[in-house]
């Protein structure tokens, strides 16, 4: 018996997808029309030839990477410790980690400026390095909900209590356990969190603009006001970049330890065998 073609579901799906696909195609089409009368990648070339584009994206990339690093170093041990020692407090910690989603970045940055302004006890905003540091810390805070969730989920799937005890009985200190057992086993989770952090902080506008840092977000907004075709090209590129991040996240999340990036040419007998 042949199944009838699912007309209604397919039409519904196409209709829903069109909301997303049509503007994308339109934007892409528009981005190709910079040179009058022909289609081409002139807008993309123009973006890449702009010195400001390169400096801001470099700046934002570095700031994001540092934020990821700091975030992981703070959040992995914290989430681990909470799960191991005070599991009762996990909901509380989780709630705290979600606060950045509730408190708008504007509030956060004004708080920073008041707290670390020129006539405060720790005037961080008076130096470039200090302001950079505030920006990075802000990114750490903004990414906390995602980073904490990812890492906490990663910890949930391994039996951290028993693994910790196994490591301890073999002589490992707590620090060594975290570094050699816990970190490697939540690496996939950290990387997922990292990609999320990266896609948030790379184009972040409010913090960067109010702290007046030469970041990619403010550049993007400025470009949108000044130019026509380049913003469309950038939108398409950042779309591609975000999807790339998601694909990489999947790759990292599903990769097993010891698995190769590419299959070997000669196959290894790695089937499960019974004792």
């Amino acid at each position: 018996m042949k199944k009838s073609f699912p007309v209604v579901p397919v039409l519904t799906a196409l209709f829903a997808a069109s909301f997303f696909v049509v503007p994308l195609i339109a934007t892409f089409y528009f981005s190709l029309k910079m040179t009058r009368g022909e289609l081409g990648f002139a807008a993309y070339a123009s973006v890449f030839n702009s010195a400001e584009f390169l400096t801001t994206i470099t700046y934002s990339t570095i700031a994001s990477l540092v934020a990821i690093l700091i975030g992981a170093v703070i959040i992995v041990p914290t989430a681990y410790w909470v799960r191991l020692k005070v599991p009762r407090l996990r909901p509380v910690v989780e709630f705290i980690s979600l606060l950045p989603l509730v408190v708008p970045p504007v509030v956060l940055v004004f708080g920073y400026i008041r707290l670390f302004g020129s006539n405060s006890w720790l005037p961080l905003t008076t130096t470039t390095a200090g302001t950079d540091m505030l920006l990075v810390l802000g990114y750490v805070v903004l990414s906390m909900p995602y980073m904490f969730r990812a890492v906490d989920n990663g910890l949930a799937v391994i039996d951290i209590a028993t693994l910790t005890e196994a490591a301890e009985s073999l002589g490992a200190s707590r620090l060594r356990t975290i570094a050699t057992v816990i970190f490697p086993n939540v690496r996939a989770a950290i990387i997922s969190g990292a990609f999320l952090t990266f896609s948030i902080s790379l184009g972040e506008f409010v913090l960067a603009s109010l702290l007046n840092r030469p970041a990619f977000g403010p550049y993007l907004v400025q470009l949108g006001q000044d130019r026509a075709y380049e913003p469309a090209a950038l939108a398409i590129m950042s779309f591609g970049f975000t999807w790339g991040c998601m694909v990489l996240m999947q790759v990292f999340a599903t990769r097993k330890p010891g698995q190769r990036w590419f299959p070997r040419l000669t196959s290894r007998p790695a089937q499960r065998t019974t004792a």
Binding site: A167, S169, A172, K256, G258, T273
Partner: protein, 352 residues
């Protein structure tokens, strides 16, 4: 001086006292099992030896050294868990090398020791495998090798076979015992399976409600259980009501007069007491030494392959026993009358 000694250990969680004055002395190279039902505190005592739990009071020494307050990573303990607990990010060789690296062994030495351990567990060909690529039995053998690699003073195993199939469970327990003998390592093995404990232990600690009810060799525990709990938990046991007929040791059981081997100690004011009788002490065939005969009604006959289990009612007391199957044997019919023979020296009084 024994190698591992636990003196009056008490452990309280909140208001719940889980271990209540536990004493044990284990000799060097001895294989001791903790046997008891779930929740009786076996794991808790083991974790106190390992250092994962701190005794509320009491003292633990290993090789003469007080380790009661010593951190687990300073105790030189090898631990094997029910759930294997191999490090998922490391392959077999990496798992086994873990403790060696921490101990600061050189590369060549580590490599040699890993090979030696792999040989010991017979998995040299799987050195590159990751835990998720192996069966439970293989993982548990790797866990054993990992625990033994840094030459611990004491090996602790917490129900290491419970997660495995019946067949592997039996072969692996023999392998564990064999390796333990070869290395002469002092071992504490936790299990709730009495057959497992019987078959591999030098001595068994039968635990009940946070206490050691009885400590003895498997045959002592089985043949001379000192409490009703031990008697009931280890093997199946017929418990018969008896009445003191004449001091010091003549009793009536199911209408039959029996001369006990030992004087009666626990008869109440009316002369009532409890006697225990192992199923294998009973037989349908009379033989020399079987001086007691119980006449009764066959209630059920269960064919179980090499043995046949028979339940009888003798003067209101239920007894059950097994007989070996053989091709020419005709089992009694249900409802028929039969006589079960026992030796009075196999009947013992349950004192607690």
């Amino acid at each position: 001086m024994s190698f591992l000694s636990i003196t009056n250990a008490v452990k309280t969680f909140g208001t719940n006292t889980v271990v209540k004055g536990f004493d044990l002395a284990v000799e060097k190279g001895e294989f001791v099992s903790f046997l008891g039902p779930s929740g009786c505190g076996k794991t808790t005592v083991l974790r106190m030896i390992a250092g994962f739990e701190r005794p509320t009071s009491g003292k633990i020494t290993i090789d003469g050294r007080d380790v009661t307050d010593l951190a687990p990573n300073k105790r030189r303990i090898g631990m094997v868990f029910q759930a294997y607990a191999l490090f998922p990010n490391m392959n077999v060789a990496g798992n086994i090398a873990f403790g060696l690296k921490i101990a600061g062994l050189g590369k060549a030495e580590t490599e040699a020791r890993v090979q030696e351990m792999l040989g010991l567990i017979g998995l040299s060909h799987l050195a590159e495998r990751y835990p998720y690529e192996m069966s439970g039995g293989q993982q548990q053998r790797v866990a054993l090798a990992r625990a033994l690699a840094p030459k611990p003073q004491v090996l602790l195993l917490d129900e290491p076979l419970s997660a495995l199939d019946a067949k592997i469970r039996v072969s692996l327990r023999e392998e564990i015992r064999d390796i333990q003998r070869r290395l002469g390592i002092t071992t504490v093995f936790v299990t709730h399976d009495q057959e497992e404990a019987m078959s591999i232990s030098d001595r068994i600690v039968v635990m009940n409600g946070g206490r050691a009810d009885q400590i003895g060799t498997p045959s002592e525990i089985y043949n001379r259980p000192s409490t009703r709990f031990v008697a009931g938990f280890v093997g199946t046991l017929n418990v018969l009501r008896a009445r003191l007929e004449r001091q010091p040791q003549t009793v009536t059981v199911a209408g039959t007069s029996v001369q006990l081997a030992q004087p009666v100690r626990t008869a109440d004011a009316d002369g009532n007491l409890s006697l225990a009788l192992r199923p294998e002490a009973l037989s349908l065939r009379p033989s020399e030494g079987r001086d007691v005969a119980f006449d009764g009604l066959v209630k059920s006959v269960n064919f179980m392959g090499s043995v046949i289990r028979i339940r009888m009612d003798v003067g209101g007391e239920a007894i059950s026993f097994d007989m070996f199957n053989s091709p020419d044997l005709v089992p009694p019919a249900v409802g028929a009358r039969a006589t079960a023979h026992a030796a009075s020296r196999d009947m013992f009084e349950l004192t607690a």
